[in-house]
């Protein structure tokens, strides 16, 4: 059992503290990988030094950059399904009845976005951030090369 350390989560050190250390927090607000939930798809996070300041607005018209941001604070990663279907990106989120401070709640939604021509499922990557933002973007967008 040695090597197993259980800490209360409040004491857990901030991940990527050095990235935030210089306090130019504004510069890091679009570095979604810094906020990504731990998972198999993000075992090694690559931080690109250049800030993606010149990012297109969401669902940018440019064929090379496609990015969708969605606020899914109310959902867990396992509640969300991302599909592509005939040139459309479908994001389905559904959670069954769960308890909250006011009683019980269940929610579901389906969002559709038109993908740029020729985009396939393998071109897309998705990041679920711990602050509830879901990012779906083209893999060859800045940083991945």
């Amino acid at each position: 059992m040695e090597g197993v350390i259980i800490r209360h989560w409040v004491e857990t050190p901030v991940r990527y503290q050095e990235q935030f250390a210089d306090q130019e927090l504004d510069a890091y607000k679009l570095e979604h990988s810094l906020y990504a939930l731990p998972g198999p798809s993000i075992s090694s996070v690559r931080i690109n030094k250049h800030v993606i300041a010149a990012e297109k607005s969401s669902t940018g018209g440019n064929e090379q950059s496609f990015q969708v941001l969605l606020d899914v604070v109310q959902f867990r990663p396992e509640d969300i399904i991302i599909q592509t279907f005939e040139g459309w990106l479908l994001i389905k989120a559904q959670h069954g009845r769960r308890m909250d401070e006011h009683g019980f709640i269940s929610r579901s939604f389906t969002r559709q976005y038109k993908l740029p021509n020729g985009t396939e499922t393998k071109d897309l990557s998705a990041v679920f951030c711990h602050d509830g933002i879901l990012v779906v973007e083209m893999k060859n967008a800045s940083g991945m090369n």
């Binding site: 989560w9 409040v10 004491e11 857990t12 050190p13 901030v14 991940r15 935030f20 927090l25 504004d26 890091y28 607000k29 679009l30 810094l34 906020y35 939930l37 990012e55 607005s57 969401s58 669902t59 969708v68 941001l69 969605l70 606020d71 899914v72 604070v73 109310q74 959902f75 867990r76 990663p77 396992e78 989120a93 009845r97 909250d100 401070e101 006011h102 009683g103 019980f104 709640i105 269940s106 929610r107 579901s108 939604f109 389906t110 969002r111 559709q112 976005y113 038109k114 711990h130 602050d131 509830g132 933002i133």
Partner: protein, 181 residues
């Protein structure tokens, strides 16, 4: 991964930290974001989170206000049209159901569905519940409270004792050998 170790939602007020806030935020769901709506990260419980512009303080709320005379609920349902909403009571549960088919908003196409259940206090008559939808999409549900203490019905249950059968009095232990060492 049933237990979340990373704070997932962020509170809009210190009241949220306590067990039963009368007001909750973040009830509007499925909302698109654009990068300009994300604000600079702030530290919350040891994690950096990014507040959003579109969470103005008085939208996306669910609020319960309770006093001696009435039970009142405010729920933001601004994504739903009046005929896409249904309110009903099942025993002492108050259910609000909203469902809208696919429609276009500024980020794309979306369809939504939710069911929220509130628990009515014991002295509220479910048949007297009234619901109003305001022009800006806040659903108000009101019900009078009688203020009467609901008497708990206590019923003492007699315990019948079973006598030991006289024949087995000699060796009760051997009969159920596993019971004792």
């Amino acid at each position: 991964m049933a237990e979340r170790t990373v704070p997932h939602a962020y509170p809009m007020s210190t009241e949220y930290e306590f067990a039963n806030p009368s007001k909750m935020y973040d009830q509007n769901f499925g909302e698109g974001l654009s990068p300009s709506e994300i604000l600079a990260p702030t530290l919350y419980h040891g994690y950096y989170i990014r507040p959003r512009i579109n969470k103005q303080l008085d939208r996306g709320i669910s609020e319960i206000s309770l006093n001696d005379h009435k039970f009142q609920v405010f729920l933001d349902v601004c994504h739903f049209l009046p005929d896409e909403l249904a309110v009903r009571t099942v025993d002492n549960l108050l259910e609000v159901v909203g469902q809208h088919p696919q429609k276009a908003d500024r980020h794309g196409f979306i369809s939504r569905e939710f069911t929220r259940t509130y628990i009515l206090p014991m002295d509220v008559d479910p048949l007297l519940v009234k619901a109003t939808l305001s022009h800006d999409g806040i659903l108000t549900i009101v019900a009078p409270r009688t203020g009467k203490e609901v008497k708990a019905r206590v019923n003492e249950v007699q315990i019948t004792r079973q006598e030991q059968p006289p024949g087995q009095a000699e060796h009760p232990e051997e009969g159920k050998g596993n019971g004792k060492p």
